[in-house]
Amino acid sequence: MESFFAIGLIIGKLAVVIAILLVLPIPLTWIERKIAGHIQQRLGPMRVGWHGLLQPLADGIKLLTKEDHIPAEADRFLFTLAPIIALVPPFLVFVAIPIGDSVTIFGTEITLYLADMNVGLLYILAVAGIEVYGVIFAGWASNSKYAVLGSLRTCAQMISYEIPMGFSVIGVVMLAHSMSLLDIVEAQAGLWNVVYQPLGFFVFFVAGLAEAQRIPFDLPEAEGDLCAGYHTEYSGIRFSFFMISEYLIVVFLSALIVLLFFGGWHGILIPLPPVVWFLLKLSFFIWVFMWLRFTFPRYRYDQLMSIGWKVLLPLSLANILISGIFML
C-alpha cells in the first residue's frame, strides 16, 4: 500500500511537471512580445483577447493548421527526429530541478522535486548537452545551405560554451561539497553564492546566454544573415517544437542561476513561502533574459569564439583557482 502511494505520487508529480512545461511557453511568448513592444515604446499584441492575452493561442492554432512540409531532398528520418531530440532534453532536465524543499499537505510530506540525485548538477549539464544533437540533425537533414551553416555555427558555439559553463559551477560545488542541488541550496542558507562567486556567476550567465542561443549570442538562428538558421526549413508543429524547447531552456537556465547563485528558495528580508521566493527569482531572471534580448545586437562569429575561448574560459579557470585559495 505504501509503495503504491509513493509510485502514484511520483506519477502525479511527473504529470504536473510535464503539463506545466508544455503550457509554460504560451504565456512566455506573450510576455516576451509585450516586453519587446514596451522596450520599443509599442504596445505589443493588443487585439486578440484582453491586451492580446489570447495571441499565443491564436499563434498555436495557426502553427497547428499550417502545412507540415518536408523538403523533397531532405533526410526524412532525421528531419522528423530532430525536433523531438531538441524538445526532450529540456523536459529531462526538469527532473532534477527542485522548486522547493518539501511541503506538508493533508498530513503527508510532499517533496517539491522529482529526484534528488547526488550528481544532479552533472546530470543537468550532461542532459542539456544532448540538445545540440537536435540542432545538428535539423540543420543536416534539411539539406539547405542556411540550415547547415546555422547548425555548424550552433555546434561550434554550444560545444565551446559548455566548457566555461561547466567550469564556472565548480566553484559552487566546492563551496557546497556536493553536486546535489538540494545540498547546494542548503549551503546558501546564510549568504548567497553570488557574493562568494561573482566571477562564477558572470561566466555562467554569459555562457548560459550562449547555450540558450539568445541574443547577443543568437548566431545559430541569426535571422539577418541565415534566415532562421537550423530551423529554416521547418514549419507547422515541428517548428513549434523548436520554439518550445528554446523557451524551456530559458526557464531552465534561469532556474539553474537561481539555484546555484541566488540561494534557491531562501529569501531575504521579506518572509514569503519558499516556493514563492523561488518563483519570484525565477521570473526575474526570465525577464532579464528577455530584457537583454531586446537591448543588444548580435556578436560577430569571430567575436563569439574569442569571447568563449579567450575571455570566459580563463575567467572560469581563475574562478576555480581563487575559490581554491580562499578555501584552503
Partner: protein, 199 residues
C-alpha cells in the same frame, strides 16, 4: 611651466585610458544600453491604436479625398470651367457643364477617378470659384476600381477640411456595413506627440 603642462596632459591621458579600461572591464557601455531600454520599458507607449480605439485627424494642409464646396442654397460652387480637369496631371477629372433652370453654369457630370489621382492638389489651386478642395477623409480603399470613380453628389457629401487637426480622437471600428472607423469623441483629441521623447 611648459614641462609641467605636458606632465598634466600625460596624467590626464593616462587617467582617461585607465578609466576607459575599467569601463571596458565592467561593461559600462552595456549597462548604459540596458538602463536606456529599462527606462523605455516603463515609459508610456506611443502606439496609436488605430482601427480599434483611436483615430488620427489630419492637419488642414492634408490632401485627402476631394470634396465640392456648396453655397448657402445647397448648390455647388463649381461653375464647370474645367480648369481643374485641364491642370490635372493624371487626367482623372471629367467635367460636363450644363445650364440649370436659373441660367447658371454648373457641372452636369463631375467625376474624379481616385484610382488615377495622385493627390497633388493642383485642382484646388487652379479652381477660380473656390469649389474643389482636398479634405480630411482618407479611408476610401476598395476592391473594385469602378467604385473609386466618384460622382458630383458624392463629392458634395464628402467631409471638408478640419480646423486644427493633428490630433488623435477616440474612435470605434465597425464591420457591420463595410469596414468603417468612426470617431466617437467629438471635439478635442489628444496630441499624438505627447509621449514622444525629444532630447
Amino acid at each position: 611651466m611648459r614641462e609641467r603642462m605636458e606632465k598634466v596632459d600625460m596624467v590626464a591621458k593616462v587617467a582617461r585610458k585607465v578609466s576607459g579600461w575599467i569601463g571596458w572591464a565592467f561593461f559600462l557601455d552595456l549597462l548604459d544600453g540596458l538602463s536606456l531600454t529599462l527606462s523605455y520599458m516603463f515609459s508610456k507607449t506611443i502606439t496609436e491604436r488605430y482601427p480599434d480605439d483611436e483615430k488620427w485627424i489630419p492637419f488642414p494642409r492634408y490632401r485627402g479625398h476631394h470634396f465640392l464646396k456648396s453655397n448657402a442654397e445647397g448648390k455647388t460652387n463649381c461653375v464647370a470651367c474645367e480648369l481643374c480637369s485641364r491642370i490635372c496631371p493624371c487626367r482623372c477629372i471629367t467635367v460636363v457643364p450644363h445650364e440649370d433652370e436659373d441660367g447658371e453654369r454648373h457641372p452636369q457630370v463631375f467625376e474624379i477617378d481616385l484610382g488615377r489621382c495622385l493627390f497633388c492638389g493642383l485642382c484646388e489651386d487652379a479652381c477660380p470659384a473656390d469649389a474643389i478642395a482636398l479634405g480630411r477623409h482618407y479611408e476610401f480603399c476598395d476592391h473594385d476600381s469602378k467604385t473609386l470613380v466618384v460622382g458630383r453628389d458624392a463629392l458634395m457629401a464628402m467631409p471638408g477640411k478640419v480646423e486644427r487637426g493633428g490630433e488623435v480622437v477616440a474612435a470605434r471600428l465597425s464591420t457591420e456595413v463595410g469596414v468603417t472607423v468612426t470617431a466617437t469623441g467629438d471635439g478635442e483629441g489628444v496630441d499624438w506627440w505627447r509621449h514622444i521623447r525629444r532630447r
